[in-house]
């Protein structure tokens, strides 16, 4: 039978794969993709905890639901920003986008 730990192991690995991607990718869209992985892993956790630990309640599920919606919103805004950045600097390389430091 499937145990909670299995879900958690998979989500953990996925989470850190996402983080690895976030740190090592250079293209901003690729970074955003990594971020999606991270959020996805977290959402799996919510759902799994809800199902295994408190099967009679719905918080985890709704949290996941809302999380999905927020992720969608965040992605939309982030992509808009990326496109805007592309317009102004001609590429979407994250290294070139540190002008705010100055």
């Amino acid at each position: 039978m499937i145990r909670l730990e299995y879900y958690l192991i998979i989500s953990t690995l996925m989470f850190f794969i996402g983080i690895f991607g976030f740190i090592t990718r250079k293209n901003m869209i690729a970074i955003l993709i990594s971020l999606e992985l991270v959020l996805n892993a977290v959402e799996i956790n919510f759902a799994a905890f809800n199902r295994f630990l408190y099967p009679h309640q719905l918080e985890g599920m709704f949290f996941t639901l809302f999380g999905i919606a927020i992720t969608a919103a965040e992605t939309a805004v982030a992509l808009a920003i990326i496109i805007n950045a592309y317009r102004s600097i001609g590429n979407i390389n994250i290294n070139n986008l540190n002008r705010m430091k100055n």
Partner: protein
């Protein structure tokens, strides 16, 4: 369904998901990355089905696969020329990132295996209870305890803000 077959299917799904994740963060082509992401998200929807959250699985597929990934693909088309290969950082960054990630995995694994979850003593564990749509609807629209009208509305405002923000940011000056 036989638990063993269940487990086998689950394992295949999990392994595929991890493999696809790794490919998504390492692929040289951005479009491929997005495709792997789509597959990962679909696998996640499979997980939700395993957990008997059918509604959630449907949302996952429709919002993520249908909305977000499409957005990604459009953005990629808008910002990348054909055949462009993703640039890489110095190796040092990979090494440090890898070390940090391994440390994080180690720590989480330690906690995970150390911790005893209480569900095993819970007799009502993992029922095959499908949650009825009407219950979801009422919970989402109710104002009582453990009901979520307010977050729902807040979320709708957030989405509105996102629409406006997206337009504002992305429009041509």
């Amino acid at each position: 369904m036989d638990p063993i077959i269940n487990l086998i299917i689950f394992s295949c799904l999990g392994v595929a998901m991890l493999a696809l994740s790794i490919m998504a963060v390492t692929s040289k082509s951005l479009l491929r990355s997005a495709t792997y992401l789509l597959l990962v998200l679909l696998c996640t929807a499979g997980f939700y089905l395993f957990l008997n959250y059918h509604f959630l699985a449907a949302v996952q597929v429709s919002v993520y696969a249908g909305g977000v990934v499409i957005l990604f693909i459009f953005a990629i088309f808008l910002t990348t020329s054909k055949g462009e290969v993703l640039l890489k950082h110095q190796t040092r960054r990979y090494v440090f990132g890898f070390l940090g990630v391994v440390a994080g995995i180690g720590l989480t694994a330690f906690v995970l295996f150390k911790h005893q979850f209480l569900y095993e003593s819970n007799t009502s564990m993992v029922g095959d209870q499908e949650i009825s749509m009407s219950l979801i609807g009422q919970t989402l629209m109710g104002t009582g305890k453990y009901q979520y009208l307010l977050p729902f509305e807040v979320l709708s405002v957030l989405l509105l803000a996102c629409i406006i923000g997206g337009i504002l940011i992305a429009r041509k000056k």
